[in-house]
């Protein structure tokens, strides 16, 4: 791969719209499986709230992704309130929400098929990987300074749309999240 001269504007065209979306969420983590509903909603202050509850209404967490890359834990059950887990989830959602994209640090690498649009973070790098014409977002990737640690994909919906499904897969330990959009849950 070699460095190429381009800018980040083409990546921003793939930014999905999470104005209001409800997903069925399945989480598999080191042999354990939990499921429920994940609500993503853009708030009037332009922050994005992400709430995870199980099917019976029991809330696992309520996170706020605020402007200027600030982050807030509004609520979390004690069992999940582990610094490493919260940090991992924050970074995962940052990648999907197209946050922490400092254009002053941006660079791009390319091989014959793909372009790796790189956004260095305080530790590691977020990559948005497109085809060479930047007409398709192939996948997203979080890397440490040495190797990829997580991959995510948006299906049927990016570039201003709400994705129908989202997959997040960690490469350094057994942790995956699968999201499938649920049509509007209107009262009966």
């Amino acid at each position: 791969m070699q460095k190429i001269k381009t800018d980040e504007s083409c990546v921003l065209l793939f930014k999905p719209d999470f104005v209001r979306a409800t997903y069925k969420i399945s989480v598999d983590v080191v042999g354990k499986h939990i499921s429920g509903l994940l609500v993503m909603k853009q708030m009037p202050d332009s922050s994005t709230r992400i709430v995870f509850t199980n099917e019976m209404g029991f809330s696992f967490f309520d996170f706020g992704f605020l402007p200027h890359d600030r982050f807030m834990v509004y609520q979390i059950v004690p069992q999940m309130n582990k610094k490493a887990l919260v940090k991992t989830l924050r970074k995962d959602f940052d990648l999907i929400l197209f946050r922490s994209m400092d254009s002053s640090k941006y660079y791009a690498l390319a091989d014959s098929n793909l372009v790796y649009h790189a956004f260095p973070q305080s530790s590691g790098i977020n990559f948005y990987i497109t085809d060479t014409h930047c007409s398709q977002l192939i996948k997203m990737q979080r890397s440490s300074n040495k190797k990829p640690v997580m991959e995510a994909q948006l299906y049927d919906g990016s570039g201003g749309n709400t994705p129908d499904s989202i997959s997040i897969r960690h490469l350094n330990f057994n942790f995956s999240i699968s999201l499938k959009k649920i049509p509007a849950l209107a009262p009966q």
Binding site: R20, S26, H33, V39, Y74, Q79, Q188
Partner: protein, 211 residues
């Protein structure tokens, strides 16, 4: 004098801060209710019902609505089968929890997760009528013309971290549970309403089978 004043203030604040519910009056001595409720629930061998569940996310101004079917059989068998927004089955039977979500099936011991065990005990207690005996909660009883409202304030530390209180609305006509309201500290709440209740229907063992 100061001691008396402080005591009076504490008593008064206790009376004022105790939740009040429109249409309901407090039933400070609820032994009569407790006795009648115990009699009715003793005679209840099983309950079959439809349910609606509404999770209100207060800060997001969003409601998540679910519907399904509910089966309970004395003494500790429970099945909640969600039909909407997607199929999801939870069965409690003999200390085990079985969950089926799509093609995924999972059986765990209720004892392996204390909070899950307590939350499930709340559900069983609510429908079986034993919530007034649950030492994890401080109960208070209120009465309207059509129903009783049992307010349960969590005492156990891990439950206090999750719930502000849990309210159970009981039909006066048959002493069966009409609504369960779970109020979280965040201001969110989950309300489960039971409809089309059939008391003491024959429910086959297969409904509660854990594969």
């Amino acid at each position: 004098m100061i001691k008396t004043f402080v005591l009076a203030c504490l008593l008064l604040s206790g009376l004022i801060t105790r939740a009040q519910y429109p249409g309901y009056t407090s039933l400070p001595h609820y032994e009569t209710f407790q006795k009648a409720f115990a009699q009715a629930t003793t005679a209840t061998e099983s309950i079959q019902a439809d349910f609606t569940q509404e999770k209100a996310l207060s800060m997001l101004s969003e409601n998540l609505n679910s519907t399904g079917k509910f089966w309970y059989r004395k003494k500790d068998k429970l099945r909640m089968e969600y039909m909407r927004p997607y199929a999801y089955i939870m069965i409690l039977n003999a200390g085990k929890i079985f969950i089926k979500e799509g093609q995924k099936e999972n059986t765990v011991s209720a004892n392996s997760n204390k909070v899950f065990q307590q939350v499930n005990r709340i559900l069983i207690d609510c429908v079986a009528g034993s919530m007034l005996d649950n030492r994890d909660f401080q109960p208070a009883v209120f009465e309207s013309s059509a129903s009783f409202l049992v307010e349960l304030k969590p005492l156990a530390k891990n439950l206090r971290e999750l719930y502000k209180n849990i309210n159970i609305v009981i039909d006066k006509k048959d002493y069966t549970v009409h609504t369960i309201e779970m109020f979280e500290l965040s201001g969110d709440k989950t309300v489960i309403r039971f409809q089309n209740k059939i008391i003491n229907a024959q429910i086959p063992d297969s409904v509660f089978n854990i594969p």
